[in-house]
């Protein structure tokens, strides 16, 4: 019984890795298409759009490429997290602007290739060495390495997050001794990887900082707690549980911290409404912020 939810996310976790290898084999264009089509097919684009996934993916790709910063590092694969359509938040017959046909992919910066630049290569090499010594391996622990805007992000598989933190903190050449905390991000349309926990680590010794990111699914939102390595993550993990519903296994007391103990739901999730009431101003009624016109 308890094995099933464990297996499910593993498959999801493996999927992007296969794409990565394909992309590295010299077919980045195909990999992009495949991932965009997969996302477009599953995204709530509307009934007619769903019948022509091929067309949508091309349009989506074209639209998505302009949202990426040019010249900020080479990438082989886009990490598509969402596909959106329309504009102004108007759906159905209310839209006379013609913008309803817009399709836009939301893609996060994808995996980087070596050399990562600066000290990034050194840290990745040492981490790989330390993990290999401890019987694990870098490839097993880290899904991908992303260098974007001069910041290093390691996407870590959840079962490896504690050993990776331990290695980063304890090895004398890494010494990321200061854990700045955990933040969450919710990507409701990134299937199987809806919830991300983001850890910021600082090496005071070497004056370096990096980020770990762990993605889990909404159906099985479990991540091992890092409080054993960074006790200061205690409240940060409670906050991330409170706001996103990520369960940190092994946390000493995973209680809500900002919301009242009996609060239903997790407020920072994207499907949780902001709330608010219309306000009248000089005779006009101003809708609450989450019901106003949206350009996203």
């Amino acid at each position: 019984m308890s094995d099933k939810p464990q297996d499910q996310p593993k498959d999801d976790v493996l999927a992007p890795t296969e794409e990565t290898t394909k992309a590295q084999a010299g077919a980045p264009r195909e990999a992009k298409d495949a991932s965009a089509a997969a996302k477009a097919g599953s995204a709530p684009v509307g009934t007619d759009a769903a019948t022509t996934p091929q067309k949508t993916s091309e349009a989506a790709l074209e639209a998505g490429s302009q949202n990426l910063p040019a010249g900020l590092g080479e990438r082989t694969q886009l990490d598509v997290v969402d596909v959106r359509s329309g504009m102004f938040g108007v759906q159905g017959s209310g839209d006379t602007s013609g913008y309803g046909g817009l399709v836009r992919t939301v893609a996060m910066p994808g995996a980087s290739e070596r050399p990562y630049g600066g000290w990034f290569d050194e840290v990745v090499d040492i981490l790989a060495e330390v993990l290999a010594e401890s019987g694990s391996s870098f490839d097993a622990a880290v899904e991908q390495v992303v260098v974007d805007r001069d910041e290093l992000t390691l996407y870590v598989r959840r079962e490896h997050v504690v050993p990776v933190c331990q290695a980063l903190r304890d090895d004398q050449d890494l010494r990321f001794e200061l854990g700045l905390g955990v933040s969450g991000v919710h990507f409701p349309h990134d299937e199987g990887r809806e919830l991300h926990a983001v850890y910021q680590l600082v090496s005071v010794t070497h004056s370096r900082r990096l980020r770990l990111e762990v993605a889990v699914s909404e159906a099985d939102p479990h991540i091992p707690s890092t409080t054993g390595v960074y006790p200061g993550h205690d409240w940060h993990e409670r906050e991330t549980w409170d706001f996103f519903g990520i369960i940190f296994d092994g946390h000493p007391g995973l209680a809500r911290i900002q919301m009242p103990d009996d609060w239903p739901g997790h407020p920072q999730r994207k499907d949780y409404p902001l709330g608010g009431i219309p306000v009248e101003y000089k005779g006009a009624s101003i809708p609450p912020p989450d019901e106003r016109r949206s350009y996203n």
Binding site: S2, P5, G64, N67, L68, P69, L72, D82, R104, V106, A107, M108, P109, D148, R149, E151, T153, E177, L178, L180, G181, S183, G184, V185, H186, V198, Q200, V202, V204, S207, R209, R211, H222, Y230, P231, G232, D234, W235, H236, W241, I247, D249, H251, L254, A255, R256, I257, Q258, M259, P260, D261, D262, Q268, L274, P289, D290, R292, R293, Y295, N296
Partner: protein, 450 residues
Amino acid sequence: MSDTQTPRASAHIVDESAEGVPSFEASGGDWSDIAEEAARLGEERIVVNMGPQHPSTHGVLRLMLEIDGESVTEARCGIGYLHTGIEKNMEYRTWTQGPTFCTRMDYLAPFFQETAFSLGVEKLLGVTEDVPERATVIRVMLMELNRVASHLVAIATGGNELGATTIMTTGFTAREEILRIFELITGLRMNHAYVRPGGVAQDIPPGALDTVRETLPKVRDYLGQLGDLMLANPIFKGRMVDVGHLSLAGCMALGITGPVLRSAGLPYDVRKAAPYCGYETYDFDVPTSTEADSYSRVVLRLEECYQSLRIVEQTVERLQAMGAGPVMVADKKIAWPAQLAIGADGMGNSLDHIKQIMGTSMEALIHHFKLVTEGFRVPAGQVFQSVEHPRGELGVHLVSDGGTRPYRAHFRDPSFNNLQAVSLMCEGGQVADVVVSVAALDPVLGGVDR
């Protein structure tokens, strides 16, 4: 199956084993009555709720103390009483509107949130290099003045909590001098929303540099008075020295930064470790101590005030030397379409600009409308930007989905993190030392709860 179990809220500090134990409700009553009643029943172990409305808890912090006589055996914090969902709200406003929200987090140090957020957005946009030098220097000047103002409140309220009202009045009078500068430059004493992605909202008004120059000696004088009042005062030292001890190992484990970490001897300061806003070009020191107690933290805060004033002097010189110039990036796709001006009905868009867009240029009107209502788009990705806040390292984690609003904005507030140390600092001490220890952490609950 245990890992799939939904976690429950932690048990109340008084657990099942305490059932049947008499409880006393104290609300506005006389403590001695309760103490007598407890003594009559032979109860030594008492759980006291301090706050959330208590003057010495810096706002709405609830401290749950289990006391045995006068000793604290267990101390827990309850927070969330000031949670207003600022981070969630920011996801529904444009990037330019962001500073208006985050400035209200730690209301004693608004410029730090604004600057950290703006630096983060600039990094996402890739325009960090394009921000005019003048805007950066103005940011540094305001942040350093703000650091002094914030430390003055920390010292003032800390003194007040010990019953030393003069420390409070002197501290607040000194802070008032700085708030006057803020009002002159930004129009507001707090919640300025002055630092914006791309620069600052408008240039400093004429005469502002002279006002800053005139104010600095006054603030320095007040700092001297505070030092004279406190540092050799036997009562003050009696309450502060060796109270609220937190070793370097404890600080590092709990992720404590700021004056509390530096009081344990580690000179970690983001301004030196990962410089931003050109801090590497300013001449200043990072004071440290190895005492790791509440007294040394007061000394450090005073020292930091003097260092900040040093930086402010350098910024004033630079601003004077560089003369007037742009304070916002040149890219009109990011910069606010008009400089503001004072009109007959208060501050608003400058009349020249209105004339232009309404009278001569249809394109300018469209551009203005699009930029103000829709905002600018920020390329997808994420950044983490740290600044040295008066209370420690303030980190902003920004995620963009390529849209006109932040997909996620998370603030790693130093007060939030540092409050975790309350148990470590207070347990085993006296009840009266709890107040001193918490004051030495200097939490601001607006920042803690956000």
